[in-house]
């Protein structure tokens, strides 16, 4: 049965492997180039926070952005592709071509046929996702020493840790179920793409509830010190400690900024802080990284299990 699984799905497996290999080479090349650049151009003590290091940081940032623009779309597109080309045809194409009547009338019981396929392909999908995460995690620190964004930036967050593996598996299970229900490949593929997109935005909206946010009252700025935090909400607090929607004009007059200038807003904020107002920010700190990773992975794994179970049940119910 493993040979059958390999023979039927080798195109997807080889294509995914080739993609990961190409991406790995690209990341490796870019990391080597950046390392050489740093060793050739870095002033003593750089990279670091010294002002002399700024040009180096800009050059590294440009290199990072060039590659990031290539894989910035990957958190959304890769799961969609996995679902469409690994999941949807798994049962959808068998039904579409009538070959399920060939496969399921051999001596191998249907449950074994399905179990081997789901286990082998699901395992390879998870391994592929983890490999992607590993490559990205090894590559990023070369450019981003000291500038962390793997928590605050959802795109990066979904490319590191266990998130890619969980997303790939989820998309695979969704595609398998769609193929079983619709019994045709193309509509199942379309459903997967839509389903992955909807799930991603839903989970992003839900993610602020993964933990109780921390709250801090700032008394001299409206910007959090940690740029990698995830902002949940912010509000002004009057001198007595009450949260208010917006301080009235009678407290501090506010004038509209012209163009891209922040001058008037900053003056208004300074006036408020001077009168004892505070700015309360609730946020998730980057230390929540693994809690968020495992919460999201848990939700996705549970959903994959349910969808996989439904696909199995529908298949074994035998309604040819």
């Amino acid at each position: 049965m493993i040979w059958v699984t390999w023979r039927q799905h080798r195109a997807q497996i080889l294509l995914t492997a080739a993609f990961l290999a190409a991406l790995g080479l690209l990341l490796l090349g870019s990391a080597i180039e950046a390392t050489l650049y740093v060793s050739g151009h870095a002033a003593p003590g750089c990279p670091g926070s010294a002002p002399a290091c700024a040009p180096l940081e800009v050059a590294l940032g440009e290199r990072y952005d060039a590659i990031y623009s290539i894989f910035g779309w990957m958190p959304l597109v890769l799961p969609a592709l996995i679902g469409a080309f690994w999941g949807a045809p798994l049962l959808g194409r068998e039904y579409e071509r009538g070959t399920h009547r060939l496969a399921w009338t051999q001596a191998v019981p249907v449950w074994r046929w399905l179990a081997v396929k789901l286990a082998v392909l699901g395992g390879v999908v998870v391994a592929g996702g983890l490999l992607l995460s590993l490559m990205v995690s090894l590559w990023r620190p070369v450019f981003r020493a000291g500038i962390e964004s793997s928590f605050g930036n959802v795109g990066v967050f979904n490319m590191v840790g266990v998130a890619p593996a969980a997303w790939w598996l989820y998309a695979f299970a969704l595609g398998t179920l769609a193929g079983t229900v619709l019994r045709r490949t193309m509509p199942a593929m379309a459903l997967v793409v839509a389903g992955v997109a909807v799930t991603m935005f839903t989970l992003f909206a839900l993610s602020e509830h993964y933990a109780t946010p921390e709250r801090v009252v700032l008394s001299d700025t409206t910007v959090l010190a940690d740029p990698d935090a995830r902002l949940v909400g912010a509000t002004w607090v009057d001198p007595s400690g009450r949260e208010i929607d917006s301080p009235g004009a009678e407290v501090c007059p506010r004038r509209v900024d012209a163009g891209r200038s922040n001058r008037n807003t900053e003056a208004w904020e300074k006036c408020l802080f001077g009168k004892g107002y505070g700015y309360a920010v609730s946020y998730h700190p980057p230390t929540m990284f693994w809690r968020f990773q495992w919460t999201e992975a848990g939700i996705l794994l549970l959903a994959s299990g349910v969808m996989g179970g439904l696909a199995v049940r529908r298949t074994l119910r035998r309604t040819a």
Partner: protein
């Protein structure tokens, strides 16, 4: 005597639209080539799918003694596989597998092993599908419309291949068709399904010997089709009349009245007679009563 190779008891299968097969009880003797005939939508495919486990019956049961190999309608194969890979597929998904016999069959048919299945002709694809089924050395071979979409030469070749296997290995065959003439020379058991119900199941020779086509003046029809459609030793299956003549398919012995002309029906006539009158049945249990 060997026990029946396939036995259905009170078998009922329903789809969302309604019953595809109702109250179907039937036993196929081992070592026979049984023809399953009936109009489109009669439930032939449903009965076969239930027999090979592709469908779970809603009522009753169907049991195959030994191993069944199935070739579905349209002979599904993996089109991107080569012929050799299709054989590997069969070997990997079966415990009983006769690879030398399969290779010999394909060599005899001049089907190249390295050719992609999708590039074979329809007749060759049918032969590959049949080869995979036969390599499993099944006790019962179930073929759904094995001759559909084949040209006359390919039809003949497929039929001859099936007959050779039966003669050599003594396996039982159940094959469906809606063209009765395809089956006349090869099958020795007849199963007629109509509207999801079983109408006829019996040895073809016995059935033909037990039925008569009577032709006579129209006014005589009443003497046969008296009370309840039967009179004495004759049971009318179907009748068609013109202004002066009546022609009937009957079961039983020839009538004494010399104005009737009697002859044995052909398989075609027998099947058509039953399909035209769905209320007539010829099943083993009832056959005893008719004699």
């Amino acid at each position: 005597m060997r026990p029946p190779v396939l036995e259905a008891t009170g078998l009922g299968v329903r789809y969302r639209r309604g019953w595809a097969l109702r109250d179907c009880s039937l036993a196929l003797p081992a070592g026979r080539v049984a023809a399953l005939v009936g109009p489109n939508g009669a439930g032939k495919t449903t009965l076969m799918h239930a027999a090979v486990g592709l469908l779970a019956p809603a009522r009753g049961s169907v049991v195959v003694r030994g191993q069944a190999a199935f070739v579905a309608q349209d002979k599904p194969l993996y089109e991107t596989f080569t012929v050799a890979e299709m054989l590997t597929f069969g070997r990997r998904t079966n415990l009983r597998w006769d690879q030398p016999a399969a290779l010999k069959r394909l060599a005899g048919l001049d089907i190249p092993l390295d050719r992609k299945v999708g590039r074979l002709s329809g007749g060759q694809q049918a032969q590959v599908a049949l080869t995979i089924a036969l390599a499993r050395t099944p006790d019962l071979l179930v073929l759904d419309e094995p001759l559909a979409n084949l040209d006359p030469v390919a039809r003949h070749d497929v039929m001859r291949a099936i007959m050779a296997e039966v003669a050599e290995h003594g396996l039982s065959v159940l094959l469906s068709s809606h063209v009765v003439s395809d089956l006349e020379e090869t099958c020795d058991w007849l199963v007629v399904l109509n509207g999801g119900r079983l109408q006829v199941s019996g040895d073809i020779e016995d059935l033909l010997a037990g039925h008569l086509v009577l032709t006579g003046p129209a006014e005589l029809a009443g003497t046969l089709t008296g009370a309840g459609g039967s009179m004495g030793r004759v049971q009318v299956v179907a009748a068609s009349r013109t202004a002066r003549q009546v022609r009937m398919l009957v079961r039983g012995e020839p009538p004494l009245d010399p104005r009737w002309r009697a002859r044995q029906p052909g398989l075609d006539e027998l099947v058509m007679g039953y399909l035209r009158s769905p209320e007539s049945v010829a099943l083993p249990g009832l056959a005893q009563v008719g004699r």
